[in-house]
Symmetry: C2
Subunit: 228 residues, 2 copies
DNA sequence: GATGTACCGTACCGTACGGTACGCCGTCAA
DNA sequence: TTGACGGCGTACCGTACGGTACGGTACATC
């Protein structure tokens, strides 16, 4: 039982990640390497880039998996989603909030860092049945799709409260929203398709997705005619 | 310049994959191992499982990447999508065709084999800038989202032809359909979430997706009221 | 029967990488 | 001044794996 320091939460959820500045430097180097080389980077390279020794790495993070986990958790702790409070939602502000949400989600998803992290988690999720590796997939899942659901749920609930939305099952609405926004952007990015959509491309995608979502689930003044 | 035999198409598209039966046995073993252990399996294990020698492996496929590529291509060549010919589409048959399409797509996407293949391609897509690895991502991309688009396009065109659909840009409609059907199923599967939807779960997802799609893009008799 | 070919099994080699050990130096407290 | 400590750099070790070589065997062809 070594102490590994820092992160110990047994629920694996991405607690604040209270690393020292020096440790964050190291993690930043890891993140860079992950973007550049995927899972294939060596500890030696990390040390060279971060100007630290392997022994330090080992003392801080235990082993390679610990380092990866720490990196993923640290990055996860940095991503803050725009939250909309339920107070005083109007048709216009609600639509705008949904659009903002979609935009920032698309920006995250199509970023190189997110792609690298997801690649890492995906490959580890399929490696050796049990192995401690599984945690990575869990963490990313927790901070990816599941975080989106958690964020979205109160927004949609607020929308329903205000009579702007109508749905039977919130889960279904969430899933639909996810599908309309993300579509095939993420999987194409993960599979290495180079073209990242431009800012306006993302904007248009988001607006269209919200438009379609409101066509399906909008009520009252939000429910307007077909697009086209 | 070794001969590597078999697949040589420079465009990388997943041509028929004309392997000998014995070679297919080997590829099947590789596929199994990929499902079980992800990208981490060793050539030695392949040999043990397939009862072949490393030298044979090398003669047939060149190197590890060649073996992986061959496996991916072989699997890709096995996936046949249900095609609907444009002749005599009615509102009912069209909806049924879309639903069938969605169902079979969901079945593929949530299968272990597909997940393993996608994991492989995803991790290789993020590994080392150029390296021949990139090809895997390309191939899977070609047989994943892009194949779906190709299959879907004539179907939607036929639908429009028959006055059952109305859209400005076919690409947009395709993207929307993709999003509604796939939603977060694929990414969650890739990240290792164990629960595969049941047959009826898939059925319901597909029907709902088609329902929503037709609400957005349906014309004439296909355009019915809101669900709920 | 001799010869060639295709393949299996296994042993082998080089390398790369995770993990460990150790010497050295700056900092800080006593 | 001295000693302890945290951390850097480097050298080192064991292992695992990709790739190669080689002997042995079944089978086909002449």
């Amino acid at each position: 039982m070594n102490t590994h320091a820092v992160i110990k939460r047994e629920d694996g959820l991405p607690e604040g990640a209270d690393f020292t500045p020096r440790q964050r430097e190291v993690l930043a180097a890891v993140l860079d390497l992950m973007v550049e080389e995927g899972d294939g980077f060596s500890l030696a390279k990390v040390c060279r880039r971060a100007s630290c020794s392997k022994e330090t790495l080992y003392n801080w993070f235990g082993d390679r998996d610990g380092l990866l986990t720490a990196t993923v958790q640290w990055q996860a702790s940095k991503v803050k989603m725009p939250g909309l409070d339920a107070a005083g939602v109007t048709a216009v502000s609600f639509r705008a909030a949904l659009t903002d949400f979609a935009i920032s989600w698309l920006e995250v998803i199509t970023s190189d860092v997110s792609a690298a992290l997801n690649r890492l988690a995906v490959s580890h999720a399929g490696a050796g049945a049990v192995s401690a590796k599984g945690r990575l997939g869990e963490i990313v899942l927790e901070n990816g799709p599941l975080a989106m659901r958690r964020r979205l749920k109160p927004m949609l609930a607020a929308g329903e409260e205000a009579g702007l939305l109508a749905f039977d099952h919130c889960e279904m609405a969430i899933r639909t929203f996810f599908g309309l926004v993300v579509a095939d952007w993420q999987i194409r990015k993960l599979l290495g398709e180079a073209t990242r959509p431009s800012a306006t491309g993302i904007q248009q995608t988001a607006e269209r997705a919200v438009e379609e979502f409101l066509l399906l689930y909008g009520a009252g003044e939000l429910e307007n005619g077909k697009h086209g």
